[in-house]
Amino acid sequence: MKIEIDQVRCVGAGQCVLAAPEVFDQREDDGIVELLDDVPAEEQWAASREAAQLCPAAAITIHED
């Protein structure tokens, strides 16, 4: 799995951090997403998918292969 984020689309909701805190963080002031791990280990896959699904700005893309 490879994760791609779009910081321009991001609205700073922080849902990704709530879903997958090992994979995503957000900037202190504007809350824009920061990727901690773009190729997460398998135990983070489900949480990462959930983060992508929850994102209200469709700013997270998951490449499964």
Partner: protein, 416 residues
């Protein structure tokens, strides 16, 4: 998979009516969860599913090409074996026969019906036939408004309604160089949701940017010249010259096609579901009928009432919950905490929970004057919501207090 619970043949597809964010998220969650049966997605607009929040922000401002709001192409939906019927409206449903009638004359049988028809712009009882009077709800509405702004440098724009949409549109129009007036019957922008203190901050922000605020006044009529609006007349007699008027006075859930069926529709009061489809706490409105997104008024155990929200995240959360029901999966324990945001000029407001203008309010970090702050709302002795600007991470950390309904007194003691 066919379900035989009531002995009926149920190879019929899941029919999702409404191809906005909530409808699309339902389809996605069904496929992601392993639903192998048919799915039909019905959308009134000809556009492929797109995202609405950027419309009044980046699209109107022109910083995003309109294509950028597309959430999924029709090809991608076809690849996921979703039968897309775009440019077609649902005109009726028969929950006993489990069918939906469409505007093209076809009738679809469903295994389960998911209503995701959203909400339409509320209109004034007059004036919408005049050229230059706009509502902003759909992509086409926004592109029409944008074209009108582009045609006329320094256009005089009157925004009627200082809620989130009105305040955002006023900010974008001002940034584009228009002369902007913002009118509301309430004394402050966003007052009914965010209260006096945040409302006053937003009012100052708009004043600083040169927006003329006309608060505490309703509009009584438009003045027109050869079929085009030329002024807005306020109830105290003021005439505001206008080349363009944006009516942003709220949204009405798209439920008319279901009136007269057994599908329950809430009363208009915001405390009673605000005219949406009444659902239980997992989105069920009746046998094999669910509703998600802006149109849906779900029972909220936390609030002890039906709550209808027009938030982007709520659409996704509804879709996830309903898809779990349709897939026969266990229910998720924690009820989600609503989230919304609003961009005005450089200010980004972010909030968790359900703030109300009548709640108690306290700034717990930063200051409103600096527009870098975290503020919390209290209702019935509990933390009901948190809002902030320029402190996104801190706002998210306060979300937990909202989720657990932390005692309001505890908030008091931390800042005393």
């Amino acid at each position: 998979m066919p379900d035989q619970t009531d002995g009926r043949e149920t190879d019929a597809p899941v029919v999702v009516v409404g191809a906005g964010a909530a409808g699309l998220a339902t389809v996605d969650a069904l496929r992601a969860g392993g639903h192998a049966g048919g799915i039909v997605l019905v959308g009134e607009e000809a556009h492929a599913p797109y995202d609405r929040p950027p419309l009044s922000k980046q699209v109107l401002a022109g910083t995003w090409e309109p294509e950028r709001v597309t959430l999924r192409s029709v090809d991608d939906l076809a690849a996921a074996r979703v039968d897309c019927r775009l440019g077609v409206r649902a005109v009726g449903a028969d929950p006993d026969a489990r069918t939906v009638a469409l505007s093209d004359g076809s009738v679809l049988a469903y295994r389960d019906l998911v209503v995701a028809t959203g909400a339409g712009a509320r209109r004034l009882p007059f004036g919408h036939d005049l050229e230059g009077v706009h509502v902003l709800r759909d992509l086409d509405d926004v592109l029409g408004m944008k074209a009108a702004l582009d045609r006329r440098d320094g256009a005089r724009v009157v925004v009627v309604g200082a809620g989130f949409l009105g305040a955002e549109v006023a900010a974008v129009a001002r940034d584009l160089g228009s002369e902007v007036s913002l009118v509301d019957t309430l004394e402050l922008p966003l007052r009914s949701v965010l209260g006096d203190e945040v409302g006053a901050m937003v009012a100052d922000l708009h004043r600083e940017h040169g927006v003329a605020l006309h608060l505490g006044h309703g509009i009584v009529s438009f003045t027109a010249a050869s079929g085009a609006v030329s002024a807005v007349v306020l109830d105290e007699g003021t005439e505001l010259p206008a080349d363009l008027v944006v009516v942003a006075i709220g949204a009405v859930p798209a439920v008319d096609w279901l009136r007269g069926t057994t599908i329950p529709i809430a009363g208009e009061s915001p405390d009673d579901g605000a005219g949406g489809i009444r659902c239980d706490e997992v989105g069920r409105a009746g046998d094999h009928v669910y509703a998600v997104g802006d149109v849906a008024a779900w029972w909220s155990p936390r609030e002890n009432r039906f709550v209808r929200l027009e938030h982007r995240l709520t659409a996704t959360e509804h879709a996830r919950t309903v898809s779990r029901e349709l897939l026969g999966l266990s229910r998720e324990a924690a009820a989600p905490v609503p989230y919304f945001w609003s961009d005005q000029y450089d200010l980004k407001l972010q909030a968790f929970g359900l703030p109300s203008g009548g709640d108690e309010f306290r700034v717990v970090e930063g200051t409103l004057a600096d527009r870098r702050f975290v503020g919390v709302y209290g209702h019935a002795g509990r933390v009901s919501a948190v809002i902030g600007a320029g402190k996104a991470k801190a706002v998210r950390q306060w979300r937990q207090a909202v989720a657990e309904g932390r005692s309001w007194d505890e908030v008091g003691s931390t800042t005393a």
